[in-house]
C-alpha cells in the first residue's frame, strides 16, 4: 500500500448522494467543477442560488447553503443575498430558459450593476426539466417538442448568444464560454469556473461563465452522439473562449 497515493477523490463539497441527472447529462460535471473550485479556494460557506430547471435540486448534491429562486429570478435573489452577505460567495446557477428567456431582464441588470456574484450558465439548447421544449439557445433546425419541424429562424429568430450579449456591458469583469463535452474542455471549464469564483472572492465583481452542456434525453441522442452533436453543431455557433478578463 505504501506506494499508492490518492490522485482523485470526490470533492468534499459534494454530498455522498447520486444525482437524478440522466446518463450523459453534464450538470453533474458542472456541479463537480464548482465543488472542486470551492474546495481549492478554501471556500466552505458558499451560497448557491438554484434555478428552475433540471438543476433546481443542486443544493441536494452540494454541501452549501442553498436558495431556490423562482424561474429566471436567480440573479435578483443572488443580488439580495450578496448585498446582505457581502463576504460570502454567492453563485447563481442557471439554465438557458431561466437565464435568457424568462429571466433575461434579471440577467442583464445584475450584470450591468456589476453585482459581485458568479453566474454559471449551463447552455444545453433545450428545456430539460419540462420535457424538451425549444429554448432561446435551441439551434436552427433543432427539433424540440415545441419546434417539431426544427427551429425556424424566420418564425422564432436565431439562438441568443449570452456571452456576446453580456459583453456589451461595461461592468462585468470576466466573461468566458467553455464546454464540458470532453476531458480537455472540462479542464478548461474548471479553470474558468475557478477564476470566476476567485474574482468574487477577491471582490472584483460580476463574472459569467457559460458552459455548453448536453441533454441526451431530450435531444434524442446517446451520450456519445450528444457530445459529438455539441461539438459539431453548438460550438461553431457558440464559439468557445474568453470574452473578457479584466486582468488581461
Amino acid at each position: 500500500m505504501s506506494n499508492e497515493e490518492i490522485v482523485y477523490k470526490k470533492s468534499p463539497s459534494m454530498m455522498e448522494r447520486e444525482t437524478h441527472y440522466c446518463p450523459g447529462c453534464t450538470h453533474g460535471v458542472v456541479h463537480k467543477l464548482i465543488a472542486e473550485s470551492l474546495d481549492e479556494l478554501g471556500v466552505e460557506d458558499a451560497i448557491v442560488v438554484a434555478p428552475v430547471g433540471c438543476a433546481v435540486l443542486i443544493y441536494d448534491y452540494m454541501k452549501l447553503d442553498g436558495v431556490e429562486a423562482a424561474h429566471g429570478r436567480a440573479p435578483a435573489v443572488a443580488t439580495g443575498i450578496k448585498r446582505v452577505l457581502s463576504d460570502k460567495i454567492v453563485i447563481s446557477y442557471q439554465g438557458d430558459g431561466d437565464l435568457l428567456a424568462i429571466g433575461l431582464g434579471e440577467t442583464i441588470h445584475a450584470a450591468n450593476r456589476g453585482e459581485n456574484i458568479t453566474v454559471i450558465f449551463v447552455n444545453n439548447a433545450i428545456y430539460g426539466m419540462t420535457g424538451g421544449q425549444m429554448a432561446p439557445t435551441t439551434m436552427p433546425g433543432q427539433k424540440t417538442t415545441t419546434s417539431q419541424s426544427g427551429r425556424m429562424a424566420d418564425d422564432v429568430g436565431l439562438p441568443i448568444r449570452a456571452c456576446e450579449l453580456i459583453n456589451t456591458l461595461e461592468k462585468p469583469v470576466y466573461i468566458e464560454r467553455v464546454s464540458c463535452h470532453n476531458g480537455a474542455n472540462i479542464l478548461k471549464a474548471k479553470k474558468a469556473i475557478k477564476k470566476a469564483l476567485l474574482n468574487q472572492k477577491e471582490g472584483k465583481g460580476y463574472s459569467f461563465v457559460e458552459v455548453l452542456a448536453t441533454c441526451p434525453t431530450n435531444w434524442g441522442l446517446t451520450p456519445k452522439k450528444a457530445y459529438d452533436w455539441l461539438e459539431d453543431t453548438m460550438i461553431p455557433y457558440y464559439p468557445l473562449g474568453n470574452f473578457r478578463d479584466q486582468e488581461v
Partner: protein, 346 residues
C-alpha cells in the same frame, strides 16, 4: 407638540421601516408610492443600508427574497399594478416561510387604471394574488400615524410568524401629510436559525416533489402558522357602537369618511357607529359578529365595487342585513352619500 413631525404617509412608512431595523429596500417606481423609494434611496445609505432600484417589480420582490433568506429585514413597496407583478415572489416567500414587508399604496384599477387612491385590491391582498394555498398578514392603516406604527409592527409580525406582511394603504394615505410621532422599536429578538449564511448549510426552497405527500405536509405546517395568526393577530377599532342602531363597516380611507358621516348623522339624532377592521387578514369575524349584535343593519363602505363586504357577510352569517355603498376607480365616497343611505333606513 415638538415630537410631532408633519410627514407624508409614504415617508412616515419609510422612516418607520428604518426604525424597525429594515436595512434593505428593493423597489421600482410607480405612482403614488414614489416617495417610499425616494426616501429610502436617501436614508438607507445614511444608516448603512442598501437601496436598489430594481429593473422590475418582479426583480425587486426577488431581491427581497434573497435578502430575507439571510435573515435580514427587508422590504419592497409598490402600487396596485406593481403589486400584481410581485405576486409570484410573494407566493414563493410564503412557501419558503420568509419574513418580509410589502407596502401597497394602492391606486385605481383594473389595468393601469389611474393614480388616485382606491380599495380595489382587497381581494388581491386577502385572498392571495399569487398561486397556492397561502396567506399573508394584511394590515390596513387609516392615517399617517397608524401607517407608521403598523409598518414598524409589520416587521415584528413578519419575523414572529415568518410570513409576508402586507400593508394595504392607498394613494390618499400615501400622499397625505399629517403630524406623526415616530414610533419606538419594540426591541424584540427573533430566532433566525433557518437563514442561509450562518454556517448551518440551510436550504431556502419551495419545491417539494418527494415524498409524494411532502408538499401536503408542508401545507399543513403553513396552516398551523396561519391558525395561530388567526387567533393571535386580530386588530380592529370600534367607534361609537355602544348605543348605535346602525353599524358602518369600513377600513382605511373609507373609515375616515365614515367617521365624519357618523358625527353628522349623530347631530341629526341617528345613532350610528363603526367597526373598522385593521387586520384584513386575519379578518376579525367574531369581533364583528359581536359588535353587530342588537344593531338593525350594517352598511359596508368601500372605495370599490364591494370586496370586503363579502367578509362582512361571512362574519354575520345572515344574522342581520348587510348593505353596501362603494365607489370604484379612484373616487372617494362623500359623507353625504353615506348619510343619505343611512337616513333611508329610518
Amino acid at each position: 407638540m415638538s415630537d410631532k413631525i408633519l410627514m407624508k404617509g409614504n415617508e412616515a412608512a419609510a422612516e418607520a421601516a428604518i426604525i424597525a431595523g429594515c436595512r434593505y429596500y428593493f423597489g421600482y417606481p410607480i405612482t403614488p408610492q414614489n416617495e417610499i423609494p425616494e426616501y429610502m434611496s436617501k436614508r438607507l445609505p445614511e444608516v448603512g443600508g442598501t437601496f436598489i432600484q430594481a429593473e422590475s417589480e418582479t426583480a425587486a420582490i426577488n431581491m427581497v427574497f434573497g435578502a430575507s433568506s439571510t435573515g435580514a429585514r427587508s422590504m419592497t413597496s409598490s402600487s396596485s399594478p406593481g403589486i400584481s407583478l410581485k405576486q409570484e415572489g410573494i407566493s414563493y416567500l410564503a412557501a419558503a416561510q420568509l419574513p418580509c414587508v410589502v407596502i401597497n399604496v394602492s391606486r385605481g384599477g383594473p389595468g393601469l387604471g389611474n393614480i388616485a387612491g382606491s380599495q380595489g385590491d382587497y381581494f388581491q391582498s386577502t385572498r392571495g394574488g399569487g398561486h397556492g394555498d397561502y396567506r399573508t398578514i394584511v394590515l390596513a392603516p387609516y392615517n399617517c400615524q397608524e401607517l407608521a406604527d403598523l409598518t414598524l409592527e409589520a416587521f415584528d409580525l413578519a419575523d414572529e410568524y415568518r410570513m409576508v406582511v402586507l400593508i394595504l394603504a392607498d394613494g390618499f394615505l400615501g400622499q397625505m401629510s399629517e403630524p406623526v410621532v415616530l414610533p419606538e422599536p419594540s426591541g424584540k429578538k427573533f430566532n433566525k436559525d433557518w437563514a442561509v449564511g450562518i454556517g448551518r448549510k440551510n436550504k431556502v426552497a419551495s419545491l417539494i416533489l418527494s415524498p409524494e405527500d411532502g408538499l401536503t405536509k408542508h401545507n399543513y405546517v403553513l396552516k398551523e402558522v396561519y391558525d395561530k395568526v388567526e387567533t393571535e393577530v386580530r386588530k380592529y377599532e370600534e367607534y361609537m357602537l355602544d348605543d348605535a342602531d346602525y353599524l358602518l363597516c369600513a377600513y382605511g380611507s373609507s373609515a375616515r369618511i365614515c367617521k365624519q358621516a357618523i358625527t353628522e348623522l349623530r347631530n341629526k339624532g341617528i345613532k350610528v357607529g363603526y367597526f373598522r377592521p385593521i387586520t384584513l387578514w386575519p379578518f376579525p369575524y367574531d369581533e364583528l359578529l359581536n359588535a353587530s349584535k342588537g344593531k338593525k343593519k350594517i352598511l359596508t363602505v368601500e372605495m370599490s365595487l364591494g370586496q370586503m363586504v363579502e367578509d362582512v357577510k361571512l362574519a354575520v352569517n345572515g344574522s342581520i342585513p348587510v348593505d353596501f355603498y362603494g365607489i370604484p376607480g379612484g373616487m372617494i365616497p362623500t359623507p353625504e352619500a353615506i348619510i343619505e343611505r343611512v337616513e333611508s333606513y329610518e
